[in-house]
C-alpha cells in the first residue's frame, strides 16, 4: 500500500500547472479546422449557461439549508430528498408567474435592468480560472476587466430602481448606486496589492504566482488586510447583509426589485446569488491560491498528497468556504444604516486601503516577503 502511494507520488511529482484555456484551443484550431473552433465556442456557451443554472439553484438551495440550520430549523424538506429539488420547483413557479410591469413604468428600462445585471455576472464567469484546463478566456487585463464589469453591475440596479415608478424602488436604486460605486474603490485598492505582488494582471498568471504560497499570508500582514478589505468591500458590492441596504426588505420592502415579479425577479435573484460565487471565486483566485493545492514548505509527502486532489476541486472547495462565510455573515449580522455604511467606506476602509497599498509597495521594493517571487 505504502509502495503504491509512493509510486503515485513519484508520477505526480511537481506539477507544472500549465494553463490552456478554451479560447486558446479554439484559436489554435481556427486556422486548420474552423468547425472545431466553432464547437469549442458552443461548448463554452453551453458550459456558462449550465454553470449559471447549476450555481443559481445550488446556491439558493445551499443558502436556504444553511440558513435553516443556523436558525434551528430544517429548511426545505418536501420536494425530493431533503428538498434538493426545491430550487427546481421554485424555478418552474417563477417561470409560470405573471410578469407584471407597474403602470406608468418605463417598460424598456424595466425589462432591461435584470438582463443587464445578469449579463455582467455571466461575463465575469467567463474569465475565472476554475482549473488549469477549465478557463474560457484568459484576458490579458484580467483584474482590470473584473473591476470594470463590477462597476457596470450598478447600472442594472439603478435602472431597476428608476424604471419601476415607485418611491421605495427609487430609494433602493439610489442607495445601490452610492454603495456600489463607493465600495468599488476599496475593492480595487485591495486587488491592486495582489497585482503588485504578482506583477501580472492575468488571472491565471496571478494563480500561478502563488505556487509557492498563497498571497494572503505570503505578503505578511498586507495580504491579510487586503483580503479582509476585499471581502468587506465585495460583500457590500453584491448587496449582501450587513450591507443589503439597497434591498432593505424591512425598510424599503425590497428596494430596487420591489416591483419585479416572475422571471425578471428571478434574474435579479439569480444574479445576486451567482455574484456571491463570483466574489468568492475572485477572492480565492487572488488571495487563496486559486486552483493551487495547499502546500506546506518542504513537507514533500504532504505536498504530494495535496497535489493528488484535482485543481478544480481545490478551486470549488475554497470558493465554497468563502460562500459559506458570506452566508454566515448574512445570517448573523443586522443591517447597517446608509450613512454608517458611507462612513465605514470613506473614513475607515478607504484610508486603510491606501495605507495598505503604500505598505505593500514598500514591502515589494524592499523584497521583504517570504519565498522568492
Amino acid at each position: 500500500m505504502t509502495l503504491a502511494w509512493l509510486k503515485i507520488m513519484a508520477v505526480v511529482g511537481q506539477p507544472t500547472w500549465e494553463v490552456v484555456t478554451v479560447a486558446d484551443r479554439a484559436s489554435a484550431s481556427l486556422e486548420s479546422r474552423w468547425y472545431v473552433a466553432v464547437a469549442y465556442m458552443i461548448v463554452a456557451l453551453v458550459a456558462v449557461a449550465a454553470m449559471v443554472v447549476a450555481l443559481g439553484m445550488g446556491l439558493i438551495y445551499g443558502e436556504r439549508k444553511i440558513a435553516a440550520h443556523f436558525q434551528c430549523r430544517m429548511g426545505p424538506m418536501r420536494v425530493g430528498y431533503h428538498g434538493i429539488l426545491q430550487s427546481v420547483a421554485d424555478t418552474i413557479k417563477l417561470l409560470l408567474k405573471e410578469d407584471i410591469v407597474p403602470a406608468r413604468a418605463d417598460r424598456v428600462l424595466h425589462l432591461l435592468a435584470p438582463f443587464l445585471t445578469l449579463v455582467v455576472t455571466i461575463l465575469i464567469l467567463g474569465v475565472i480560472p476554475y482549473s488549469p484546463l477549465m478557463q474560457l478566456a484568459d484576458v490579458s487585463i484580467g483584474v482590470l476587466y473584473l473591476t470594470a464589469l463590477s462597476g457596470l453591475s450598478v447600472l442594472g440596479l439603478l435602472l431597476g430602481g428608476w424604471s419601476s415608478n415607485n418611491k421605495w424602488s427609487l430609494l433602493g436604486g439610489m442607495r445601490a448606486a452610492a454603495q456600489v460605486i463607493s465600495y468599488e474603490i476599496t475593492a480595487t485598492l485591495a486587488l491592486l496589492v495582489v497585482t503588485m505582488f504578482s506583477g501580472t494582471l492575468t488571472l491565471s498568471g496571478i494563480v500561478q504566482s502563488q505556487a509557492q504560497g498563497w498571497w494572503v499570508w505570503r505578503a505578511h500582514g498586507v495580504g491579510v488586510l487586503s483580503m479582509a478589505l476585499f471581502i468587506v468591500a465585495a460583500t457590500a458590492e453584491i448587496n449582501r447583509t450587513p450591507f443589503d441596504i439597497p434591498e432593505g426588505e424591512s425598510e424599503l420592502t425590497g428596494g430596487f426589485h420591489t416591483e419585479y415579479s416572475g422571471l425578471r425577479f428571478a434574474f435579479f435573484f439569480l444574479a445576486e446569488f451567482i455574484n456571491m460565487f463570483v466574489v468568492s471565486a475572485i477572492t480565492v483566485t487572488l488571495f487563496l491560491g486559486g486552483w493551487m493545492p495547499f502546500r506546506i514548505g518542504d513537507w514533500e509527502s504532504f505536498n504530494n498528497l495535496m497535489g493528488l486532489i484535482p485543481p478544480s476541486l481545490w478551486f470549488f472547495g475554497k470558493s465554497a468556504v468563502m460562500v459559506f462565510v458570506m452566508m454566515w455573515f448574512r445570517w448573523t449580522f443586522p443591517r447597517m444604516r446608509v450613512d454608517q455604511l458611507m462612513r465605514l467606506e470613506w473614513k475607515i476602509l478607504l484610508p486603510l486601503g491606501f495605507c495598505n497599498l503604500v505598505v505593500a509597495a514598500v514591502v515589494i521594493l524592499s523584497k521583504w516577503y517570504f519565498f522568492p517571487v
Binding site: 440558513a67 443556523f70 436558525q71 434551528c72 430549523r73 418611491k167 421605495w168 430609494l171 447583509t241 450587513p242 443589503d244 441596504i245 432593505g248 426588505e249 424591512s250 425598510e251 424599503l252 420592502t253 445570517w331 448573523t332 449580522f333 443586522p334 443591517r335 447597517m336 444604516r337 446608509v338 450613512d339 454608517q340
Partner: protein, 387 residues
C-alpha cells in the same frame, strides 16, 4: 387648553415644488398599511427629504374592530374574550386588567392562590412578549436569525400556556372572580425547567445581537425620547422607563402578589433606542426573578371564588382599573348604569396608542432606517392601537 383639529387632508398638503433643478423637494411616502414595519396594518405617512424624515403622521385605524362598542353588548365574562384580541402578546394581562376592574367594582375578593397564579402567568407572558419583541427587532434591523431564535423559545412558554389554558395566543384564562381552569400538578416543575432553560438563552440573545457592533451603532443615541416628552405623551411601560422615569405599576401600586416578590424596576438613562432595548432585555431577567420567587409556594385554595356561570352585576358608577402589561399601562374604564350585566360604556386606555405617538416626537431628523429602529424599539402591537 385648546385643541386644534386638523384633518389628514390638511396635513398632507403637497410640499412646495423645487424652484430650480438643483434644489431638492420634500415628498410624502406611505409606510404601510402594507409594509414589513407595519407589523400588521399601521399606516405611517412620512414626509421625506431624501432619506431624512421631516414629519411623521401615524394613521391608525386599519385594524379597528370596534371592541369597545362590542363590549357594550357583552357580559363582563364575555368581554374577556375580546381583550386578548387587542394586545395579543399580553393577552393574559389584558384579561387580568378587565377582571381586576370588574372584581374591584363588584367587590369580589379573590384568594392568594388565584393572585399568585395570575402573577406567574402574567410574568411568563411578559417574558414571551419581550422575547418576541427581541426577535422582531432583530428582523427589522436585518438580523433574521434572531427572529427564529426567539420563536423557538417562545414556543416552550406557549406549550405551558397551551397545557394549562388550551390556547396559545388568544387566551381567555383570567376571569372576574378567578381563573378558568386550575393549573396542572406539574405546572411548577415545567415552569422551573423553562426558567433553567431561559436564563442562559437570554444570555445567548445578548451574544447574538446585543454585543454586535452594528446593532449598537443602529440603536445607540438614535431616537432619543426625553423623560419630559415621554411623560407628556403618556408613554408607559418600557418606553417611559427607558427615558429614566421609574414608573412601573407593579411597584407603584402593587397588584397581584407583586408586593411579595423582590424585583427591580429597570430604568434607562437617556431614552434612546438602546435604552429601550436594554430595559426590555433586563425586564426578562427580572420576570424570571419574580417567577423564581413565587413558583415554589403557590398557596392552596380554590381557583374560582364566584360561581362559574354567575351573572356579574356592577353597581351604577364609573370604574377604572389599570395594570402593567408588557407594553405599559393598560387602563380599563367601565361606565355601568347599574342594570343588566353589560357595561353602558367601556374604554380601554391602551399603552400602544400612546407609545405610537412618540414617533412623531422622536423620528423627525432621523433616516428611514432609523425610523425602523425607533418603531421597533417602541414595541407596538397594532391591533391594540386600533382596538
Amino acid at each position: 387648553m385648546s385643541v386644534t383639529v386638523r384633518t389628514l387632508d390638511e396635513l398632507l398638503t403637497p410640499p412646495t415644488a423645487a424652484d430650480s433643478p438643483l434644489s431638492t423637494q420634500e415628498y410624502f411616502v406611505n409606510m404601510g398599511p402594507q409594509h414589513p414595519i407595519a407589523h400588521g396594518s399601521l399606516r405611517i405617512i412620512l414626509l421625506l427629504d431624501g432619506e431624512t424624515i421631516r414629519k411623521v403622521i401615524p394613521v391608525p385605524g386599519y385594524v379597528h374592530r370596534g371592541i369597545e362598542k362590542m363590549c357594550e353588548h357583552m357580559s363582563y365574562r364575555k368581554i374577556i374574550t375580546l381583550t386578548d384580541r387587542m394586545d395579543y402578546l399580553s393577552a393574559l394581562m389584558n384579561n387580568w386588567a378587565v377582571a381586576r376592574t370588574v372584581e374591584k367594582a363588584a367587590g369580589i375578593e379573590t384568594n392568594s392562590r388565584i393572585e399568585t397564579i395570575r402573577t406567574l402567568m402574567a410574568e411568563l407572558q411578559r417574558i414571551q412578549s419581550h422575547a418576541l419583541w427581541w426577535g422582531v427587532l432583530g428582523m427589522d434591523l436585518g438580523a433574521f436569525t434572531a427572529f427564529l431564535y426567539s420563536f423557538r423559545d417562545r414556543e416552550i412558554i406557549g406549550e405551558i400556556f397551551e397545557e394549562t389554558i388550551g390556547a396559545r395566543l388568544t387566551m381567555n384564562y383570567i376571569q372576574p372572580g378567578g381563573l378558568m381552569f386550575d393549573i396542572l400538578p406539574d405546572f411548577a416543575q415545567k415552569v422551573k425547567k423553562l426558567l433553567a432553560y431561559m436564563r442562559p438563552m437570554i444570555n445567548e440573545y445578548d451574544t447574538l445581537l446585543s454585543g454586535n457592533a452594528i446593532l449598537q451603532e443602529r440603536l445607540r443615541n438614535v431616537g432619543i425620547l426625553p423623560a419630559k416628552d415621554a411623560v407628556a405623551l403618556g408613554c408607559t411601560g418600557p418606553v417611559v422607563r427607558a427615558s429614566g422615569v421609574p414608573y412601573d405599576l407593579r411597584k407603584v401600586e402593587p397588584y397581584g402578589v407583586y408586593d411579595k416578590a423582590e424585583f427591580d424596576v429597570v430604568v434607562g438613562t437617556k431614552g434612546d433606542c438602546w435604552d429601550r432595548y436594554y430595559v426590555r432585555m433586563e425586564e426578562m431577567r427580572q420576570s424570571i426573578r419574580i417567577i423564581e420567587q413565587l413558583i415554589d409556594n403557590i398557596p392552596e385554595g380554590q381557583y374560582m371564588v364566584t360561581k362559574y356561570n354567575a351573572r356579574l352585576k356592577l353597581p351604577k358608577g364609573r370604574f377604572y382599573g389599570q395594570l402593567e402589561t408588557a407594553r405599559g399601562v393598560l387602563g380599563v374604564f367601565i361606565y355601568s348604569d347599574g342594570n343588566g350585566d353589560t357595561p353602558y360604556r367601556m374604554h380601554f386606555r391602551s399603552p400602544n396608542f400612546n407609545n405610537l405617538w412618540a414617533v412623531t416626537q422622536i423620528a423627525p431628523g432621523w433616516r428611514i432606517a432609523d425610523y425602523i429602529a425607533i418603531q421597533s424599539s417602541l414595541d407596538l402591537v397594532i391591533p391594540d392601537i386600533d382596538r
